[in-house]
Structure formats: C-alpha cells, structure tokens
C-alpha cells in the first residue's frame, strides 16, 4: 500500500532524512517513532506530496507520489503536525470545504460529514467557529478532515499531541478502529503510544531508520537492558560486590557521595531477565536494609542511543 525506496531529503546542506526504506501493507498500522528533529514529519511530507525527495521514490496505492501525484493524493488522508484549520470557518463549513476540494459529491459529503462528526464526537460544536475551539477539539476536527473522504491511506503526524489523557486513550482507540479498513502511518515520540496502537514500529533517528519491529519484540529488546534502582542501608563496598554476584547483573554503580549510611545503586541487567526479586533476596539475606527498589525506565533518547549502538554493532 505504501512503499518508500531510498528516500533522501536535503534542506540545503542539511541531510534531514537519509535512505529511508519501508513498506506498509494494506490494513497495517505502522508507527514512526523518533525524537524531535529525527525526520518523521519530513518523511510524511514526502509521502503526501508536500515535499519532493532529493532522491528516492515512494508509492501510495501503487501510484508514484511524484509522477502520479494527483492519483496518489486521492488515496491519502493527511493530518499535518500543525493542524491546518481555517479559524474563521465553522466546523461544518470547514469539513464541507475539505470534502469539496476532494471532489466529493454533495450527497456522499453530507452522509460522511454526519459520520465523521459522530466518530470524533464534535457534534456539539458543528456550528462553532474553529477559532473558538480548544486545542483538543481542533485536533479532532483535523482528524475528521483526514478520514472524511474515506481514504485508503491515513498519514497522521502526531495525532495525540495536545489532547488530554482521557481523550488520548479515546483517540488511540479511534485510530485502532480506523486501522480496520485503512492503512495507517502515524508518528509519535511517545513510546507507550506505539505499543498501544501500532502493529509495527519504525524507529527513526537522525534521519535514518535504525530499527523496525513489532512493539512486543521491541519492548523485549529494550527490557533486556532494563535498569533497577536500589536504595540500601549497608556497607557500600560489600553491597556492590554482593549485587555483582547475582547472576544476570551486568554492572552496578553507586550513586551519590556516600556521606550517609544508605546509598543508591544503579544495577544494569542483562537481556531478558527481571532481577528485582533476586536482588531483593540478596539484600535481605545479608541483613541490610532495603529502602527502595524499582525499575528505571529508559528515556526515549537512551532507547535510541541503545538501538543505534546495537545497530552498528550488528553490522
């Protein structure tokens, strides 16, 4: 449904994306995960025909986005990063306009408008000027606009940004249900979001796809290197050596200056093992005081660093 081959884009001398390849099959929901400035928006803009790639090619529903641009665009529903709304229009007028520039006939447009207004639940605001809507509601109008013409491909750039947590859950639900009869690409820099919504994740870092996997596999890969933080009341040196002796521990570091009797230790674990129970037992067996134990989740940056580092190691 969506094919990208060797997409590369320079802005002047700046390489925004470098040799991006991927394929998305019909009915799949694929997430682009990456930190700020990694090239998610740039990739999506190339797919929608807003930007031309410096080199490489992409196809949407079999149509080349550059040479058969209009045909390709007909199959796309797009929610850009900055939700594009005419603030002086009412929700209904806006949707009607969006439908008409996509040449929907008026009967179908009317039916679809009622449907999408229902889907994104903006019924109470049908006749409100968009300028007066809150950010979350604007986001919904943007989403309504993207699905209005029943496109086969949905390209959503950070669809849940600016929405409150309850709505985020609802929106993710919505996207999942859209995935039943659409092919969806969405971008995000929220790790849990991709696991909640996507069947496959492409991790983009500094303009390159550094990993591609299912969220579950990805989570496993990352979990293998999870860190555990311990606060222990006891002699520092012995604690460190005792923790090191636990099978599966890769490294132990002491944090802080050690001025007090209790210290915080950061334990790096090897892949695939949850050592929390083991570590707790060890501490208790030595008769030290276990004040705190918890896993430290990695920040997105660290995830990328790790994936990039591993990617290089694999080569």
């Amino acid at each position: 449904m969506i094919e990208a081959q060797g997409l590369t884009k320079f802005f002047g001398d700046f390489l925004a994306i470098n040799d991006v390849n991927f394929t998305v099959h019909r009915g799949e929901i694929v997430g682009f995960l990456g930190p700020n400035g990694s090239g998610k928006t740039t990739t999506m803009r190339i797919l929608t025909g807003y930007l031309s790639p410096t080199s490489g090619a992409a196809k949407i529903a079999g149509f080349d986005v550059q040479t058969q641009s209009l045909d390709a665009r007909k199959h796309i529903g797009y929610l850009p990063e900055t939700v594009p709304l005419y603030t002086e229009m009412t929700v209904e007028d806006y949707l009607a306009y969006m439908g008409r520039i996509r040449s929907m006939d008026s009967r179908r447009l009317k039916r679809r408008m009622d449907e999408v207004i229902d889907i994104v639940r903006i019924g109470d605001y049908r006749n409100t000027h968009i300028g007066k809507l809150s950010k979350g509601y604007r986001q919904r109008v943007g989403l309504a606009q993207a699905v209005l013409h029943e496109p086969e491909v949905l390209i959503l750039d950070e669809p849940t940004i600016g929405i409150d947590p309850i709505q985020v859950v609802e929106t993710r639900h919505l996207i999942r249900s859209l995935g039943q009869d659409h092919t969806v690409i969405l971008s995000t820099h929220i790790l849990p979001e991709v696991s909640a919504v996507c069947q496959r994740v492409l991790i983009i870092h500094e303009g390159e796809v550094v990993a591609e996997d299912t969220p579950t596999n990805l989570a496993e890969r990352l979990q293998g290197t999870e860190r555990i933080e311990l606060e222990v009341l006891g002699p520092a040196k012995e604690v460190v050596s005792a923790l090191r002796a636990v099978p599966g521990v890769a490294d132990v570091r002491r944090q802080g200056d050690g001025a007090t009797a209790n210290h915080v230790y950061l334990v790096e674990c090897r892949r695939g093992a949850d050592l929390r129970e083991q570590l707790a037992k060890t501490i208790v067996q030595h008769g030290w005081g276990l004040l705190k134990l918890g896993s430290v989740s990695m920040s997105l940056e660290e995830v990328f660093l790790q994936l990039t580092a591993r990617g290089e190691g694999d080569k």
Partner: protein
C-alpha cells in the same frame, strides 16, 4: 478551482475588510468622477475619470489579495491545499477568480456614475464599454501581482507592501518613459501598466493592448504557480 474561488469570495464577505476597502474604492473613484465632470467644459464621458481610477488599483489590489496565500501559509492550511488532489494552477486560478469576482463586484457599483451621465447627458456607448473593459484588464493585472506577492510570504503586511511597491513601479515606468527618450523610453512604455490603458479610455480597442494585459496577467499567475511548486524543493 471553483470551490476555492467560492470559498474565498464567501470569506471576503464574511470579513469587514471587503466592505471597508470597497467603500474606500468608491469614495476615491467617486471623488475622481466628480472632478472629471465638474468644470464648465465637462463632457458626458468617463474618460477623465478612468485614468485616476486605475491608480486606485495600486492601493486596492494589494489589500484584496494579501491574505489569499499569506494566510494559508500562516495557518498551515497550505499544506492541506497542496496535498489535496488539486493541481497547483487550479489553486492559484481559484484564488485569482475570487479576487476577480471582488473586482467585478466593486466595478459594478461604479455603474452608478455612468447612470448619472446618462441622466444628465448623452454619453457615447463605445468608449464606456472599452473603458470598463480596460479597467477590468488593468485591475486583473494588478490582482495577479498582488497574488504573486502573497504567495511569497506568510506575512500579509509584507505581501501588501511588496505588491504595492511593485505596482507603484509598474505605473511609474510610464512617467519615467516620458522623461527619457529613444529605446529606453520605448521599452519602459511597453512595460508600463498605464501606457497600454490610454487607448481603452479613448474608446479604441487595440488587440495589442488587450494581448499585453492578458499576457502580463497570465505570466504573473504562472510565476505564482512556480512559487508554490518551488516550496516542494526547499
């Protein structure tokens, strides 16, 4: 294309700008009209009124066109428009047609002056028609310039200042042409928006002049399309 034109026309009438600028247009042209027919040897024609009225476009067109693309860039809606299944020229032409609609609407209000002429005298029909055709062509050309300026920036004020400056230059070349002689004078004369207008005012329909305005407008609109296209390559 028509959808875009229609939407832009509606938003003109939804904002006070259209009314204010329309009123200013009428006030200025009305003033020139009174000037042109008062005086003891006044004739029943719009000839004296036409030329000063073209200068009003230098002010009017930038204001009418400034938001057409600049606002879309600021709101980010240009991204939707350029990724919708529309050709770039359809977008440009749609916007241009909307501004042309405003032009025709505003010009049709001045028909009131012509009715006054018929009331008080016997004006010649020919020069009236060519005069209005001239105004329409002249106005369309200035609107195209305004549209191009609007496509260059996301700032409406900048857009209007740029097109105002450009239009001022294009009308002043006529004066410059009169100040110089020889080849340069001829070139300037050819380029000038105003020099091609005088025949229309006299009631002469010259295909040369007609072609000048049509080509000029088409060329500027073409540049506007290219400006939009060039965004993809940035």
């Amino acid at each position: 294309m028509w959808t875009i034109a229609w939407k832009e026309l509606k938003s003109y009438f939804g904002s006070p700008m259209a009314y204010i600028i329309g009123a200013v247009f009428l006030a200025l042209t009305g003033y020139f009209f009174v000037q042109s027919i008062s005086g003891s040897f006044a004739e029943a024609s719009i000839r004296g009124w036409l030329l000063p009225s073209t200068f009003v476009f230098v002010l009017w067109s930038p204001v009418i066109t400034m938001r057409l693309f600049a606002e879309e860039q600021k709101l980010g809606t240009l991204e939707l428009l350029l990724t919708a299944p529309l050709r770039d020229w359809e977008v440009v032409l749609g916007k241009f047609l909307a501004s042309l609609g405003m032009l025709i609407g505003t010009l049709s209000l001045t028909v009131f002056y012509v009715m006054l002429l018929f009331w008080f005298g016997q004006p010649d029909g020919g020069p009236l028609l060519t005069g209005y055709l001239g105004l329409l062509l002249y106005g369309a050309a200035t609107l195209a310039v305004g549209l191009l300026a609007s496509s260059l920036t996301g700032n409406q004020i900048v857009a209007s200042v740029v097109s105002f400056g450009a239009l001022l230059l294009l009308t002043l070349t006529d004066q410059a042409a009169q100040a110089t002689t020889g080849l340069s004078a001829q070139v300037l004369q050819e380029l000038s928006l105003t020099s091609h207008f005088t025949d229309f005012a006299r009631g002469i329909l010259d295909t040369n002049n007609l072609m000048y305005y049509v080509t000029f407008t088409a060329f500027i609109l073409f540049l506007t399309v290219r400006t939009l296209e060039s965004r993809r390559w940035r």
